[in-house]
Every structure is written in structure tokens, then in C-alpha cells.
């Protein structure tokens, strides 16, 4: 495997800068586009890591989310954001950031990070070795998510189904009464 660390670091720096711009900008549309830039950079990073399945899904979902967010943003009259920050929120965020760093140092400090491409979970090796003979699916990712881990996919489908159901119940047209009808009744 070729050394892809420089490309990944460049993408990582780009993503960090994009996230900071998304938080700090005053225009809501700029924030939405910055978040999408982070998502597209993540998709390219997946391609560099040799995961075309995830890259395709990330790219396609990112396009859809960008359309929906822009459409939602341009409906607002005032897209400028007040960047006033609460002191308590900033302090809490910093404390949690320090806690995460501290726990990370506690866990990985003694035994070190796992080698790149050597996952901690050993079950993935079994999947890679027995995936093709057990399922006859040439794409190992599909073999894992639809055969070995089909329960997870069922849960994912249920989550999507329930969220769509909720969104449509909130935004539906039929069966809703206007304020005038309520006042008249």
C-alpha cells in the first residue's frame, strides 16, 4: 500500500478549516456550504483509504443534504447569525474537550495506537477471509451489511422509516386545520 499520509493530512487540515469557517461565519448560507465542503473532503478521504462504497454513499447523501439545507436556508428572510457566545457554553466545551483528550491519553498512552490497517476488532479478519465463499458476493461490504450484519441494516431501515414517518406527520397537508377554522369553531 502506497504511503497516503500526506494526502490524508492535507484533507484533514482542509476539513478542520472548513469546520471552523462553518462555525465562525455570520452568513447561514456560507455555513451550510462550508459543512458540505467538509463532507466532500471526507468522501475524497474515503476514496484514498480504499473504501469506494462509503465514498459513493457519502457523496450522494452529501449532495442531497446540501440541496435540502440550501433550500431550507434561502427560505429564511434573515440569514445572518448572531455569533454571541455564552461563556458557560465555551467553558463546558473546553472541559469536555480536555476530558476526551485525557481519556484518550489514558487508553492509548500505555499501549499505543493500533497499526494502520490493523483493526482492533479481530472479527473483521474472519469476514474478509470467509466473505466470498460464504456468501458468493464479490463486494465484501455488501456481504457484511446484508448477510453477516443484516440485523444492523434492519435497524437502520427502521430508524429511517420512523424518522420519515415523523417528518411527514409534522409537515402533512391533509387533516390540518388553519387558525381561522379553529377561531370560527
Amino acid at each position: 500500500m502506497a504511503n497516503i499520509a500526506p494526502q490524508l493530512y492535507a484533507l484533514l487540515v482542509f476539513m478542520v478549516i472548513g469546520s471552523i469557517v462553518a462555525i465562525e461565519t455570520r452568513n447561514l448560507l456560507s455555513a451550510v456550504i462550508s459543512v458540505s465542503a467538509v463532507g466532500f473532503a471526507l468522501s475524497v478521504a474515503f476514496l484514498f483509504l480504499g473504501a469506494p462504497d462509503i465514498a459513493i454513499t457519502q457523496l450522494v447523501v452529501e449532495v442531497l443534504v446540501l440541496i435540502i439545507l440550501i433550500r431550507g436556508t434561502i427560505l429564511l428572510d434573515n440569514t445572518a447569525v448572531d455569533t454571541h457566545r455564552d461563556t458557560l457554553a465555551v467553558v463546558t466545551s473546553l472541559i469536555f474537550f480536555g476530558l476526551i483528550l485525557g481519556f484518550g491519553a489514558m487508553i492509548f498512552g500505555s499501549r499505543g495506537f493500533p497499526e494502520f490497517g490493523e483493526p482492533v476488532m479481530r472479527v473483521s479478519k474472519v469476514y474478509v477471509q470467509t466473505g466470498l465463499p460464504a456468501t458468493y458476493a464479490a463486494n465484501i461490504v455488501t456481504a457484511v451489511i446484508l448477510d453477516f450484519r443484516a440485523y444492523d441494516t434492519l435497524g437502520e431501515a427502521t430508524v429511517l422509516f420512523t424518522s420519515i414517518l415523523g417528518a411527514l406527520a409534522l409537515l402533512r397537508r391533509e387533516g390540518k386545520v388553519s387558525r381561522e377554522e379553529v377561531v370560527a369553531a
Binding site: 462504497d53 456468501t135 458468493y136 456481504a143 446484508l146 443484516a150 422509516f161 420519515i164 409537515l171 402533512r172
Partner: protein, 151 residues
């Protein structure tokens, strides 16, 4: 005029069918090449969303009515569950009981292809419904604004 300009509409008419074909390819060959039900379903949904953006909601609903999308959403989820239950006939839930077929061919790997198709129907129609809900919401809010102005 509803929707966007004539240029956008013409290009959309030309491209939308190809996007649907590409999405179907991603779904059907999900077990052989990168892709799968989720990505392919989102691509098909994007074709209809493109129609809705370019021509307005009415044209998109004439191609894929809202009721049909509702039925497809629920049918996809139920089909996924039903195929999973079919595995009970051979042993346990989600057991891959269909014939394995020949390796690297389209009809191989048993239940993975039907699973992919069910997920594509489910994901595609539900994401189309999200976007259509947004369009309906927008129409409602504009009408409410105009009514407020007239009142």
C-alpha cells in the same frame, strides 16, 4: 413560469432518465461492484428531486405521485422484513437460504440482491418524500404569508 429557466428544464429532461438508469445499475450490481441499495436509492431519489427543482412540484408528482411514494416506502421496509423472515424456513431469521448461484454473476449471492432492491425502494422513496414534504411546507408558508398580507 413555474420552475427554472428553459435551459435547466431541457437539460433536466435529457439527464433525469439516465440518472435513474445509473441508480438502478448501482442497486442491481451492488453485490458485485461498489454501491448498493442505499446509494442507488439516493441516486434515483436525486433524479426525481432534480425534476422537482427544475419543473416544480406538480410535474414531479405527476411522474411519481405522493401516494405511490408512500406505498413504496412501506412496501420496501416490509419486503426487507419479509425476505428476512423467509430465512426462518431454513433455520434462523435473516439466514441466506436462496440459491448462491455462480460467483461474480448478477444472479448470485442469494438474498443479497432482493435485499438491495428492497432497501433501494425504501430509501429512495423516503428521501423523495422528505424533499416533497419540504416543498409542500414551503408552498403552505408562502400561502400563509400572502394571506397575512391580504388580511
Amino acid at each position: 413560469m413555474k420552475g427554472m429557466t428553459l435551459i435547466v428544464k431541457t437539460i433536466t429532461d435529457f439527464v433525469a432518465g439516465f440518472i435513474v438508469i445509473f441508480g438502478a445499475y448501482i442497486v442491481l450490481y451492488g453485490h458485485l461492484t461498489p454501491g448498493g441499495g442505499f446509494a442507488g436509492g439516493v441516486i434515483v431519489a436525486c433524479a426525481f428531486i432534480l425534476l422537482m427543482l427544475a419543473h416544480g412540484a406538480d410535474v414531479a408528482f405527476s411522474k411519481l405521485p405522493e401516494k405511490v411514494a408512500h406505498v413504496m416506502d412501506s412496501a420496501g421496509a416490509l419486503a426487507f422484513l419479509g425476505i428476512g423472515w423467509f430465512g426462518l424456513t431454513a433455520g434462523f431469521f435473516f439466514m441466506n437460504t436462496f440459491g448462491r448461484g455462480e460467483m461474480f454473476k448478477l444472479f448470485s449471492s442469494g438474498m443479497i440482491l432482493p435485499f438491495n432492491i428492497a432497501i433501494a425502494f425504501k430509501v429512495g422513496s423516503s428521501l423523495f418524500l422528505v424533499f416533497s414534504a419540504l416543498a409542500i411546507f414551503r408552498r403552505r408558508s408562502f400561502r400563509a404569508m400572502i394571506e397575512d398580507e391580504l388580511a
